[in-house]
Symmetry: C2
Amino acid sequence: MTPTITAFEQSPDRGQGLARDMTARWAFEEVGQRYDVRLVSFSALKNDAHRALQPFGQIPTYEEGDLVLFESGAIVLHIAERHAGLLPDDANARARAITWMFAALSTVEPVIVQRETSFYLERDKAWHEERLLIVEDRIRSRLVELSVRLGDSEWLDGTFSAGDLMMVQVLRRLGSSNILGEYPNLSAYVARGEARQAFKRAFADQLAIFTGSATDRSH
Amino acid sequence: MTPTITAFEQSPDRGQGLARDMTARWAFEEVGQRYDVRLVSFSALKNDAHRALQPFGQIPTYEEGDLVLFESGAIVLHIAERHAGLLPDDANARARAITWMFAALSTVEPVIVQRETSFYLERDKAWHEERLLIVEDRIRSRLVELSVRLGDSEWLDGTFSAGDLMMVQVLRRLGSSNILGEYPNLSAYVARGEARQAFKRAFADQLAIFTGSATDRSH
């Protein structure tokens, strides 16, 4: 059965692939699983029908028969557990790859999202710039630690995994700032992720919705 | 082999069980797995030895033979996958329980932690109170959504799971505010979690470190 995910009908980032459907799309492409996409308008996110799938009114959701999931982390893990390509076979290496998924979402992403929300919610405040410096210092603290751990390695722990997929997507959220460029090994790490064929296919598909060139929702 | 987790040598919350070793302890207790605890001083968190285990200088870590994990979410999932009691047998219900783990850590916790960090980092700012209102509004947005989804149910999806364990721990971080009390079904949900025997054992063990009454690190 082909799973269906939801994505925004109108790309809030103009097709930069920062909405969280991109994470699920990339995972599907890495493992070679076909999927369908159902587009949801911003107003429909708050409808009861969407809330029944996603209590927080977000995208993506994942539907496959009777199963309904949400949270991009849970969706990627679900895909990774059912198909080869995103988690190592060795039990310990698998557990470490999952650790990096949680590190990306729970330790690195929150400070990066704070920077984004400060623009949405606080840009008109007299203290916006002052607070932005505090937030960016916290981002740098995390990135220094991540940069030290990554060192000269290609990926975070051996071969490319769901942990790298998630971490690269989280770091890509810094794209509009210059912060990532202060850490050359992290910039190169993100570039390696973006150079993967699976990433490119997923990126092109989500961009096609923004440009209006998407003609076939089946992948 | 008995796994070893790390915890703070000096409880930053005076034994309220909000440090993240509590989450791992509670999971161990739910499944009946023995574990050891190694205490780490604040200064040692930044040491190379600890960074080798935890690149971001946090607790808890999880060591079992050659395996080293970090991130409380990954540790709980690892425990839950290896022992009965925290994930349903049914594959779909299991995937949904894992979804709630990610929802707790990735969607609910970040706004709650923002409130805490605003006290650490911004309390001396003239705009602290103004920003606190913005943060608390965002917390309420998440809690309304969670409250609607929970409704009159005992747990988030059927029987108690790792998803509930994680969500209760995240909501407990609001303990020092009055916000949780605005959502009676969520307050009752947290109270149900705290009433579990496994929670009580874990709580007593972490409290014993603060009160100095811990005499045996083996559980």
